[in-house]
Amino acid sequence: MASADSSLRWKHLHKVLTKPGPFSDEDWVPGSETISALETSKILGAGGLGCEILKNLALSGFKDIHVIDMGKSPPITFSGIPQLTLTDTIDISNLNRQFLFRQADIGKPKAEVAAAFVERRVKGVKITPYVGKIQDKDEDYYMQFKIVVCGLDSIEARRWINATLIGMVDPENPESLKPFIDGGTEGFKGQARVILPTLSSCIECQLDMHAPRPAVPLCTIATIPRQPQHCIEWAHQIAWQEKRKDDPFDSDDLDHIGWVYNAALERAKQFHIHGVTFQMTQGVVKNIIPAIASTNAVIAAATTSEALKIATSCNPYLDNYMMYAGEEGVYTYTFEAEKKPDCPVCGNLARNMTVDPDMTLQEYIDTLGDRPEAQLKKPSMRTEEKTLYQRFPPQLEEQTRANLQRKLRDLVEDGQEIAVSDPAYTIDFRYRLLFK
């Protein structure tokens, strides 16, 4: 394997793998075994940062790389509006940063195009693409990897892979613990974190550090718009529903966006509101997050650098969080995020949640979407004794629907534990409800 060519080609990398440094572990044995461990480690790269991650892994000496879910527009789920399933294909707006794709590739599956490109460019690396979502795959699939590196663009996908990898850990089998490295960006900001499932702080422990933007109340959108965004939300959520009910809304269809834009303009005119533009319309309905090549490069390389360190022990790895902000100079903050005993995924205690007992169950359910520590869009819930509200199957939904109008104090005791499930996740979330 290690031909003369190969050792010449990888000479810089091999230097750090064949001699210890002042910070590498005293027990570490550098040399050919370390190199072959790296070359045989099967590693998974995923998400919108996938182009950078693939390039970096290939040039870090990994030879068996798999790639999945290279990102699509984040799912938008407004109740009642049919959404087309978006596919994992190349869009023109990817070209400003996803550097493995060209104009001629638009419409092709991302994972396949990216894998073929990197295989062509970096001799001796094998890249196995899977076109689809990370949620398509089960534990057997994830069990084959040594390390999982994700630069996913939705919080749902992150929470899903986090819960899955934590659920896979079998204390009897050390191989079942898959170091999970997560990276994410938004404009000039980003973060990289290393998660050792069940051993260190996980995505769910840190959920409240990434609070969702508060949603605009429906009554504002319906009756008292003040901002151009309110008019766009009205056109998208209300006018489309009224006028084009049978037409599934497709946020990638420029004619659909154009229709919403014109409807929003009309409404804005009526209320003397300025500032509705086509681009703003697109931004609001697709929930577009600004993204640039440079931030993605920083964060993707931060994650793959940790992957190299974990796979080879040539230096200590990140413990466990690095945040980055580039608006004012270069700012990073590296710290150890806490593992929470009441984490619904990796902890064993129910998480305390203070609620107003006079709130109805429906109101409580609505708040779960916005609460930073929960962020659950379609929750169903039960106590140990009874089901409070269950969305599926329809019979059970019908049976429990009446509870929605009842007050919390009539359904649960102060301090009682409830289990909440959500179709986006495989696990139950446990909350202890404390009355205000």
Partner: protein
């Protein structure tokens, strides 16, 4: 940012679609500046010795990738190196067929593939004596074609100094980068004064509502809600919180000899007064607009105060006495300074946060803010015109749009005082800044010191002062470490204690691990950071580095230093 896009009735052009995700950050104006700029990458300065090919230049190429993708106008690569096997293991913009060919040509070709809108050229000629200095000598107009110079180090000192000096004479910024093993460091050399208007501060910090000193139209709007008690529940629950605060402030003043609440205790009392005035007998058991008012008391009821950075700008000679050849920034700054001297406030930015209100009430309140902002811009414009006519002989009036943008951002303008690329035995301020940080245990200054020693070793190598010709020559390193340490301790032995010496020694050991070689991850990460700074310098938006960043890939940390 509201004018980020032209509000054409038609959909976006294919270019707008391609660049959509970045236009949301720097808008059409930033994109225009980017497309009108050409950058120069000096990606190596010849081999270090006959045993060593020199810098592999990965940071440089990765930086260009991050500039070509968003659509920089053009780039030039100067690189006399020939592609080797080791290049292929670390540089993504080379392929098997590139072996043995000029690296400048190959990287240029593969980078151009990324974006057909970008023009790229290269210069791969191998010069007899230090390529870049020779190039500057033979083609005096060459440097001036570029808006920014990127230099991949370590580079021998005479070449770097010549390049930085030539760029400085043309007011062209320089980014000098080094990435070796798990460490990287880069510094930005800006012109002596580098002003920025669009700094994009966090919107939370930019609100300027003038509640304690409302202008007549705003005070008048507040007085119109004098009879809050007579409003029905619906109306009462929709009075904009801003007017509520103004209303209760008047009441407070009546009871406090005309004074507004000024300290924490008074503000808390005032907040209680607002809170207790909310109606709670409605079905919701409270009122959102009152909640908003209560939440805004502590952060919004502050007298106007000028940020110290703005005050410093007003004190600068360029601002006090603009000249005919002053940049537009200084003429407008000078006019805004005069405006401030007259009114004790800056021009009103004019934006209004969203708040619970009826549509029409909100829009009319918004118009009060907008009209006042417009009036302030007019006043500043008049001062600008007067200054222009006083100083005379300028090439034309400053566009009104620029004055408007300046007024909107006046509270957050910034001027960076450019420094040259730092050297330990260079300017006194550099040495002082290094000494100040060296005893802090977590400081990354030891990494910077290690890079300084490396620069010196490379200089000696290229100038054939190291007989072995090896980058890993113990004697050479020993000598350079001594030289760097003695510069640091020149007049005071105590500047470096034992712990600091140990940290420096460890940083040097880690740096020497790859014998000058780059690791792709660290260079790619650094290329992202350097490109980010390049974008900020070129678009004149956001705030660039002042002036050195050090990244430590062992501990996954970075630090900024003004050296």
């Amino acid at each position: 940012m509201t004018d980020a896009f032209p509000s054409a009735l038609t959909g976006p052009s294919s270019k707008e679609r391609k660049y959509d995700r970045q236009l949301r950050l720097w808008a059409a104006s930033g994109q225009k500046a980017l497309e009108e700029s050409r950058v120069l990458l000096v990606n190596s300065d010849g081999p270090w010795s006959n045993q060593s090919t020199g810098v592999s230049g990965v940071v440089g190429v990765e930086t260009l990738k991050n500039l070509v993708l968003p659509g920089i106008g053009g780039f030039t690569i100067v690189d006399p190196a020939t592609v080797t096997e080791a290049d292929l293991g670390v540089n993504f913009f080379l392929e098997e067929q590139s072996l043995g060919k000029p690296r400048a040509a190959e990287t240029c070709r593969l980078l151009k593939e990324l974006n057909p809108d970008v023009e790229g050229s290269f210069q791969s000629k191998v010069w007899d004596s230090g390529s870049i200095t020779e190039l500057l000598r033979q083609d005096p107009g060459f440097l001036a074609q570029h808006r920014l110079v990127l230099v991949s180090g370590p580079m021998k000192r005479p070449s770097l100094d010549a390049l930085c000096k030539a760029a400085s004479e043309l007011n062209i910024p320089v980014l000098y980068t080094r990435s070796v093993g798990f460490y990287s460091s880069f510094s930005l050399q800006l012109p002596p004064l580098f002003p920025i208007v669009e700094t994009h501060p966090d919107p939370e910090t930019t609100q300027d509502l003038r509640l304690l000193n409302p202008w007549p139209e705003l005070a008048e709007a507040a007085s119109r809600i004098d009879d809050l008690e007579t409003l029905d529940d619906h109306q009462h629950g929709h009075v904009p919180y801003l007017l509520l605060l103004l209303h209760y402030l008047e009441k407070w003043k009546e009871a406090h000899n005309g004074n507004v609440p000024s300290n924490y205790k008074e503000k808390s009392e005032f907040r209680e007064m607002v809170r207790s005035s909310a109606r709670t007998c409605n079905p919701e058991g409270g009122e959102e607009n009152y909640d908003e008012a209560v939440a805004a008391v502590l952060k919004s009821l502050n007298p106007f105060s000028l940020r110290s950075s703005t005050r410093e700008i007003f004190e600068m000679e360029e601002c006090k006495n603009p000249r005919a050849d002053s940049a537009d920034f200084w003429i407008i700054a000078s006019a805004v300074r005069e405006f401030f001297q007259q009114h004790n406030v800056l021009p009103l930015p004019g934006s209004l946060p969203d708040m619970k209100a009826q549509s029409a009430d909100y829009v009319s309140l918004q118009n009060i803010y907008k009209s006042k902002a417009k009036k302030d811009v007019e006043e500043v414009t008049n001062i600008v015109r007067r200054i222009e006519s006083q100083i005379g002989s300028r090439s034309g009036d400053i566009p009104e749009k620029d004055i408007e943008i300046f007024c909107k951002n006046a509270a957050h303008i910034k001027v960076i005082r450019g420094r040259s690329i730092p050297e330990i035995d260079g300017e006194a301020q550099t040495l002082k800044a290094i000494r100040n940080s060296i005893s802090i245990p977590d400081s990354l200054i030891p990494v910077f010191i290690a890079f300084q020693a490396l620069d010196n070793v490379v200089t000696d190598l290229q100038e054939r002062r190291i007989p072995s010709g090896s980058i890993d020559d113990e004697v050479a390193w020993g000598a350079q470490i001594d030289r760097v340490l003695s510069a640091l301790t020149a007049d005071d032995q105590s500047t470096i204690d034992e712990d600091a010496r140990e940290r420096i020694s460890e940083a040097i050991q880690e740096l020497r691990r790859t014998e000058g070689g780059e690791l792709h991850n660290i260079s790619s990460l650094t290329g992202g950071l350097v490109a980010q700074e390049a974008l900020k310098v070129i678009t004149r938006q956001y705030v660039p580095l002042d002036n050195t960043c050090i990244f430590d890939g062992v501990r996954s940390r970075s630090e900024m230093y003004t050296l």
